[in-house]
């Protein structure tokens, strides 16, 4: 059976055999934009519920950020006595100014949610397993870059919300041992948040981070292609031959991507037309408002800070979390389970148990700590370091180990399922902390019901 060099090695040739068609197709696929895609994709990877199109959505949102961000650069002034005013000017006098700002604000927030969900999807479908480990690392880098972009952008409006949220977050840097104070002054551009801070953040937000984002994104996409595209689901025997049915990228994949992009765009436009980006009173360094919270994506960390000694919650724990995320793909996993959501039926069951455990244990601990253990005492002495530092860490390790011994071992979970369950355990805990921080904390950071 002679195989022509221009034909793919599939069982059927899905390409237009007609020469004119093929020429047309080749012209289309010679474009830079489309070149990043393969000529054919496995049919099974087209299923929407495999990836939920989250990566693609992230690309659309980042493009919106770049576009609206560039437009904003023509109006915004990164100087304390002009920043707030320039935004008022943008919203009142510039045609479509409010709309552009709203799109920038909503896309930015939806983007954090989308990339977080994308991270979860990649994790639960095992798309970080070999050969995709390095791409996971790059992905974490992208995630951090996006969080920093949101964070530095948060200061730009120079209103009370922006000024004090950033002041508090900068205050957190001071608790990092040894280099904390130096780092804080470097980022702030001085001993406190002021004109230098705004300019620093502006440079980081509009130059350094976009460049970094761009480079990382290119690397990220190329690696997806290098690994053979979207992770392919195996059937239960690990046999992939059936899943390898290939169909042409154009039009099948492109069409789906365009539809998702357009729907997302439409939703974002509706959101931006209905809800304005917030703008409070102009920043006043002499007056701290009653209620200052970190941006919603950092509220989980803030909630941890309320219960746990700052050196641990602001330094040791984040370092541990980042390290865990970075080493995740390099653990000694067993069979290659990529492509299947939650690995297996057992994996699904264990994940549910882990989620339920965390859902019950975390609020219990929050309440316990708030009302019984001396939660407010973050005085930097030995007693609070033990009661608010080592004790919670000890409890956490105990819970993880207890979960492992009682549930994972009993159910004979393999290492993939075990890692997944513990991931779910910690993930749900973090989500509960975030929800508590957003809706259950009122003035003076006291626990309260949201109604």
């Amino acid at each position: 059976m002679a195989i022509k060099s221009s034909e793919p090695c599939g069982q059927q040739d899905p390409f237009p055999v007609d020469r004119a068609d093929r020429e047309g197709y080749r012209k289309f696929s010679d474009s830079l934009f489309l070149h990043i895609r393969p000529r054919t994709v496995p049919k099974s990877t087209l299923r929407f519920s495999l990836t939920w199109g989250l990566g693609g959505m992230a690309v659309v949102l980042v493009s919106l950020m770049f576009g609206t961000g560039i437009l904003l650069k023509f109006v915004y002034l990164p100087v304390p006595d002009q920043a707030y005013e320039s935004i008022l000017h943008l919203q009142r006098n510039v045609t479509f100014g409010q709309l552009i700002r709203n799109i920038h604000y909503w896309s930015g927030n939806v983007l954090v949610l989308v990339v977080f969900l994308h991270l979860l999807r990649v994790f639960f479908t095992g798309a970080f397993l070999p050969p995709r480990q390095l791409n996971w690392i790059i992905g974490i880098g992208l995630f951090v870059t996006i969080l920093l972009s949101n964070f530095t952008g948060y200061l730009m409006p120079w209103d009370q919300l922006a000024f004090w949220a950033i002041t508090i977050c900068m205050g957190m840097l001071d608790y990092i041992p040894v280099i904390g104070r130096w780092l804080q002054e470097l980022v702030q551009g001085g001993p406190e948040v002021g004109a230098a801070t705004l300019l620093n953040f502006y440079a980081i937000h509009t130059a350094i981070l976009p460049a970094l984002l761009f480079i990382l994104m290119l690397s990220h996409f190329w690696r997806v292609r290098k690994a053979g595209g979207i992770v392919v689901p195996h059937n239960s025997e690990g046999d992939t031959s059936i899943s390898r049915d290939s169909i042409p990228t154009i039009p099948h994949l492109i069409l789906r991507e365009v539809v998702v992009a357009l729907v997302l765009l439409a939703l974002l436009l509706v959101l931006s037309m209905l809800f304005d980006a917030p703008l409070e009173n102009k920043a006043n360094a002499g007056l701290s408002p009653d209620l200052i919270k970190a941006p919603w994506y950092f509220v989980g960390i803030q909630e941890m800070l309320i219960h746990i000694h700052p050196v641990i919650s602001l330094f040791i724990m984040p370092v541990m979390i980042i390290t865990a995320l970075l080493t995740l793909p390099y653990l000694n996993y067993q069979a290659n389970t990529a492509g299947v959501w939650f690995i297996s039926t057992k994996g699904r069951k264990l994940a549910l148990i882990a989620a339920a455990t965390s859902l019950i244990a975390t609020p219990m601990w929050i309440l316990l700590d708030e009302y019984l253990i001396n939660s407010g005492a973050t005085i930097l002495d030995i007693t609070s370091f033990i009661s608010n530092g080592l004790l919670p860490i000890g409890i956490l390790c105990g819970v993880i180990y207890g979960f492992y011994a009682l549930i994972l071992k009993q159910n004979d979970a393999n290492i993939n399922e075990a890692v997944q369950s513990i991931f779910v355990l910690l993930l749900v805990a973090f989500i509960v902390l975030t929800i508590t921080g957003i809706w259950f904390r009122g003035a003076g950071m006291k626990l309260m019901l949201p109604w």
Partner: protein, 177 residues
């Protein structure tokens, strides 16, 4: 045979020279990299006030000693500090930044304490912590009293863990060390 040996010798000598030069290049390259990083960091670091004029500006003339009643706190918005006059007549200039995470504390005259609106830290008139989560007392600035006028040196911020009598300035006596 001799020629082969010669070639062998030269190739061995070549590769050790090559490896030395390679290491040298790499070393110089790393040095250049560190120097560049140093230049960038030095460029970005916030500059310190060094000139005499700046130094003069940093001293705030708070006012004559008599204008401050005993056991009172006066807010200085421009200087971002509170001037407290204690019961025994001594002066303490307290930074208005809460030592927890940097919010501006407010003075409540009735309750005679500073309260931080962010996480409810409380300090007494001397800046000592009454209620956590603040980890230490409010920072103070050096106070000097000359010709019966209270001066606060904003360039000299003193971090302290708790109240220290040596930071208090008393009129009609030497300025604190």
């Amino acid at each position: 045979m001799a020629k082969n040996k010669q070639i062998e010798n030269t190739t061995v000598a070549d590769s050790s020279r090559r490896s030395f030069l390679t290491k040298l290049w790499i070393g110089l390259g790393l040095l250049a990299l560190f120097q560049t990083a140093g230049v960038v960091v030095a460029y970005l670091r916030p500059h310190r006030m060094k000139t005499k004029d700046d130094k003069l500006q940093s001293i705030v003339r708070a006012g004559p000693v008599e204008s401050f009643p005993l056991d009172s706190v006066t807010a200085f918005i421009k200087g971002k500090f509170y001037l407290a006059r204690l019961n025994d007549g001594g002066f303490l200039a307290l930074s208005r930044k809460c030592t927890h995470l940097g919010c501006t504390v407010m003075w409540y005259r009735q309750d005679k304490k500073f309260v931080c609106p962010c996480h409810s830290s409380e300090f007494d008139i001397r800046g000592e912590v009454l209620d956590p989560p603040a980890p230490r007392a409010l920072d103070t600035y050096r106070v000097s009293i000359e010709n019966n006028v209270v001066n606060v040196d904003l360039d000299k911020r003193i971090k302290r863990s708790s109240f220290d009598r040596s930071h208090v300035a008393y009129p009609n006596s030497k300025s604190p060390a």
